[in-house]
Amino acid sequence: MSAHKIELTVNGTARTAEVESRLLLVHLLREVFRLTGTHIGCDTTHCGACTVLLDGKPVKSCTVLAVQASGRQVMTVEGLEQAGKLHPIQEGFTEKHGLQCGYCTPGMMMTGFALLARNRKPTEQEIREAISGNLCRCTGYVNIVKAVQHAAERLQQGA
């Protein structure tokens, strides 16, 4: 067993931690940094509830070691709101009722955020493909797609 001192940026803030090799990124975020917005769902790389951005790309944080994130940029759902103002992707999920129980929502929003960062005007098909690694078990995906579309429109308007 080995312990490692890691340094990473989380939501724009430099953080350090002393971690065991086997600590998963999701546990680092939730239990060490107390950023509990990132959820643990299936814990087997299927559901996407634990999605965070690693160097800007959405990944399943239950399947990344904390040590692998050392020196990298991590963004969690807590990083979306800026100066008390919801990000358009959060506004979209509110406006379009993009959730029921809310468990998948942080992951859905991170994936949606990353999609809109590289594609300002995604088609419905592109949105559906982008969120195909994020499972919602409440309602289906109709309102989730609408929420991402809403965010895309708001971003195009310069929100």
Binding site: M1, S2, H4, E20, S21, R22, L24, H27, D43, T44, T45, H46, G48, T51, L54, K57, P58, V59, K60, C62, T63, V64, L65, V67, Q68, T111, E129, A130, S132, G133, N134
Partner: protein, 290 residues
């Protein structure tokens, strides 16, 4: 779920990584994207005393055509294949394959080298690499060696790689004119392993006959399978419905699936036939034959 304890090593160079593997032998595993290895360790289906992370070694992520070869760095992410212009325009079979591996989030981490080195017959690249006649480059204590992909998959989760070797590159011969390829997968849902899948790559002659053909099958045996009888049947023939139909039947015969929740032996064999037929049709179409 938490894996059992291990030591984590992050070598900065390939020689350092190889030295670590040589030192720890069977107790060490290579960590690349981690999308197969970490779930195995978490579920405690596998154990390793040492993980050697090759993800921090520079120069292992690239996709480039060079000297009549497509070269893919071992640590190239699946998402990088999807975004690669040369893949999109020249190797549609690779784009087909990358797009159906797991899901987009997994593909942001998963690597092409890992997909092969894991030796899982359910993984998608092996069949495609068999169809393409790829070569696998491995680096070990004695230097580099090139392994034809036909000799790479030895058994269930077992490849020709030695415990102290690292897969550093995949080489694919650039397709001559009038070539086409396709990968067709039957899956129950996004992210599932194939019930059955087929890769087909072929080159047509000026008269429209099949000059070269490779056919690989996914998840219908303990290793990925090359459907050699099906290939032999097609060679020299016009790829019409009868020839493709018979080749697909032979591919179905070549597999030895196991019954599980994805289906019975008969069903999987039949699906291997159907997937082969569809892959061949698409490959012919992409090669510019009707």
């Amino acid at each position: 779920m938490i894996p059992s304890a291990f030591d984590y090593h992050a070598p900065a160079t390939l020689p350092e990584a190889v030295a670590l593997l040589a030192r720890y032998g069977d107790g060490a595993k290579v960590l690349s994207g981690g999308q197969s290895l970490l779930p195995l360790l978490k579920l405690r289906l596998g154990q390793a005393a040492h993980l050697v992370d090759i993800g921090r070694i520079p120069g292992l992520e690239y996709v480039k055509e060079e000297g009549k070869m497509l070269r893919i760095g071992g640590c190239t992410r699946e998402s990088a294949l999807e975004e690669s212009d040369v893949v999109r325009t020249r190797y549609p079979i690779l784009l087909d394959t990358a797009r159906v591996i797991a899901d987009p989030l997994v593909r942001n981490r998963a690597t092409v080298g890992g997909n092969l080195a894991h030796g899982d017959p359910g993984n998608d690249h092996p069949a495609t690499m068999l169809a393409l006649g790829a070569q696998v480059v491995a680096v070990g204590p004695k230097g580099e060696r090139v392994i034809p992909v036909d000799q790479f998959f030895v058994g269930l989760f077992t490849t020709a790689l030695q415990p102290d070797e690292i897969l550093t590159e995949i080489r694919i011969p650039a397709p001559p004119p009038r070539s086409g390829g396709a990968y067709v997968k039957l899956e129950r849902k996004v992210g599932d392993y194939a019930t059955a899948a087929a890769a087909a790559q072929l080159t047509l002659s000026a008269s429209g006959a099949v000059e070269q053909v490779g056919i690989g099958l996914t998840n219908v045996g303990v290793t990925p399978i090359r459907a050699t009888a099906a290939e032999a049947h097609l060679r020299g023939k016009k790829p019409d419905a009868a020839a493709i139909g018979e080749a697909a039947r032979l591919a179905g015969q070549a597999c030895s699936p196991r019954a599980d929740r994805r289906g019975t032996v008969e069903y999987k064999r039949e699906m291997a036939r159907v997937m082969t037929m569809r892959a061949l049709r698409k490959a012919v179409e992409r090669a510019g034959g009707k």
